[in-house]
Every structure is written in C-alpha cells, then in structure tokens.
Subunit: 178 residues, 2 copies
C-alpha cells in the first residue's frame, strides 16, 4: 500500500460519485471502523464533507467526543470486509483484527488510515449544530492520501439491501464546470 499526498482542491472528485466509505475513529488507543454511504461534498477547498452518523453506531460517541475521523475509500476487492464491518459492532469486536484491516498512523488526527483502501481523508468535525436533530456532521478534510497506481478505482456504491453497484467505465464529456 503506497499512498501519496493528494491535493485538497481535487478531493471532491473522490467523494462526489457516492462511494461506500470506511470511517475510522479512535479513542483511548482503541480504533473502530464503520461503513458509510450517506455523505456529500459541501465545498471544494478547503474540502468540506457532510455526513450522517446514526447514534445507534458505536462510532457516533467517539466522533462526537474526539471531533476527528478518517474517511477511507475501499474498492471492490474489499467488498466482503466492508459488509463484515457493517454487520458487526465495535462495541464487542476489534474490527481491524477480525477483518484483517491495517491501521496506519494518520498525519493530523488520532484515527488511523485503513491501509487497504486506495484513498484516505483525514478529517476534523467543524460544525455539530445539526447532529442532535439529524445526526449530520460537517467535516473539513485536513489531509488527503491516494494510491497513485490506482487510475480507475472500482469503488462500491450501495443501492440498498446489500446490493452494491461496482464502478463501471469512465465517460469524459466537456463539462465547463468542476
């Protein structure tokens, strides 16, 4: 796993296609990892991301308390581990050990990067005013890492009830905007 620093101005291109992501959090030396599909870009640079984390998830309290996480983007090879992470709770299980995921130190936050994911975004929570009502956290991306060898990442996109669309071919069209 070789990750290179990635320009913050291009982070939106990693997230706006709607991939399932693995969110890591850490508190008191213990890390957890949770799949998430309910996220959106909110600003280009510095990149801002909004996401929903339900208070039924073990990660919710850690995210709220530490105000830090890493958004990791897996590809299809990791599909079974991703679903496994969603089917178990960090309350009872060390998911890194259970699913053979590698926790790598991040540069700006205590939560780890997931080594097997092709991209990782270190994030800080910058607005919690919509957390109580909606479980909606506003994050700012502090640092981004991408494996430069992955040109056409076959990301996973959840269509509900365990069905995942695997990223297909790329179409290039002359868009004037970002």
């Amino acid at each position: 796993m070789h990750k290179r620093k990635f320009p913050l101005s291009r982070v939106y291109g990693l997230l706006e296609s709607g991939p399932v992501v693995l969110v890591t959090t850490a508190r008191k030396g213990r890390a957890n990892v949770m799949p998430m599909s309910w996220h959106t870009m909110m600003e280009f640079e510095p990149p801002r991301v909004g996401c929903i984390v339900s208070d039924r998830n073990h990660s919710f309290a850690t995210l709220k308390a530490t105000r830090e996480c890493v958004i990791n983007i897996p590809t299809v090879e990791l599909a079974e581990k991703v679903v496994g992470c969603g089917n178990t709770s960090g309350r009872r299980v060390d998911k890194f050990a259970r699913f053979g995921l590698t926790a790598m130190p991040a540069s700006r936050v205590a939560a780890p990067l997931v080594g097997e994911c092709y991209a990782s975004l270190e994030c800080r929570v910058v607005d919690t005013r919509f957390v109580e009502k909606y479980g909606f956290f506003v994050l700012e991306v502090l640092a981004a890492w991408v494996d430069p060898s992955r040109k056409a990442p076959r990301t996973l996109h959840h269509r509900g009830r365990g069905r995942f669309m695997v990223a297909g071919r790329t179409l290039k069209l002359p868009s004037k905007k970002a």
Copy 2:
C-alpha cells in the same frame, strides 16, 4: 416513459449510490433544470435528502422562494443532455426546449418531472437553517416515481472535471442492515 409510484421506504436505494441528478424548479410558470452531485440521504422514511445548491446557480433563488423541487435521476443515454444543462444557465435559456427534455406535471409540487429520467422524487424544503452558511437544503421526499422496466439503471456518477463513471455490475452481499 412509464413511471409508477414507488414506495417512500425504498427511496434511499435510488440516491445513496451517488448518481448525478437533474433538479427541476419552477416559478411563475417557468421551469428550470440543473445537474447536481452534492447530495446525501439523511433519513429513511419519510425520506429526507440534504443537498448543496450554490447561490451562483439560477435555481438557487427559485428553490429558496418556492421551497419545492423535483430530483430526477438520469441514465447514461442522457449524459450529453446532463452536461449541456450544466454548461448553460436558466437565466438565458429554456433548457427543456434546448435539450429536448420533457416537462411532465408532478403530483405534489409545481416543479416538473423530467420525462426521460428513470426516477423522479417530488420534494419539499423542510429546513433552510444551513442555506446561508453552506448552501445546504434539507428536503423531504413527498412522492416518488420510477420506471419499473429499468432493472439495472446505468446511472452517471461524477468524478470531477467532466469525467463520469457509468454504473457497472451489481454485487449482492448479505448485509444485515439497510
């Protein structure tokens, strides 16, 4: 184009994979349509959707004033029209006429459905408290329509700078959750 009413409890499966959508708005008998990729599901039922609309878009003022829109989901056949809608402004152009899109009456809102899209979600704005700071609108889906003949819709997913990922194959994995 045959659209059938679609259960609100399953709407999340249409949006959480991150498709580019066409958002329609209407005011004083004039409709507009705008592509959007920055959206997220926020709640299952009634379905709640959060989205970012920049105040640089012509649709922004209409959405804010009328508090209504329709989220339409196009597939790859419409890719050039989608990009065309993003490259022109409703200030100067009737995009339905220009791009040959069919405005069909909705059941609950004044904004039209886009006939060529395989799914359409009639929405009402339910929270504007994050509009000033982030351009973030919270929508509730009032009615949903899907073309039942489209089993594996080849949705478009923007990866930035005019590159679109076209939905590939479907993987089914035993997820315990939604």
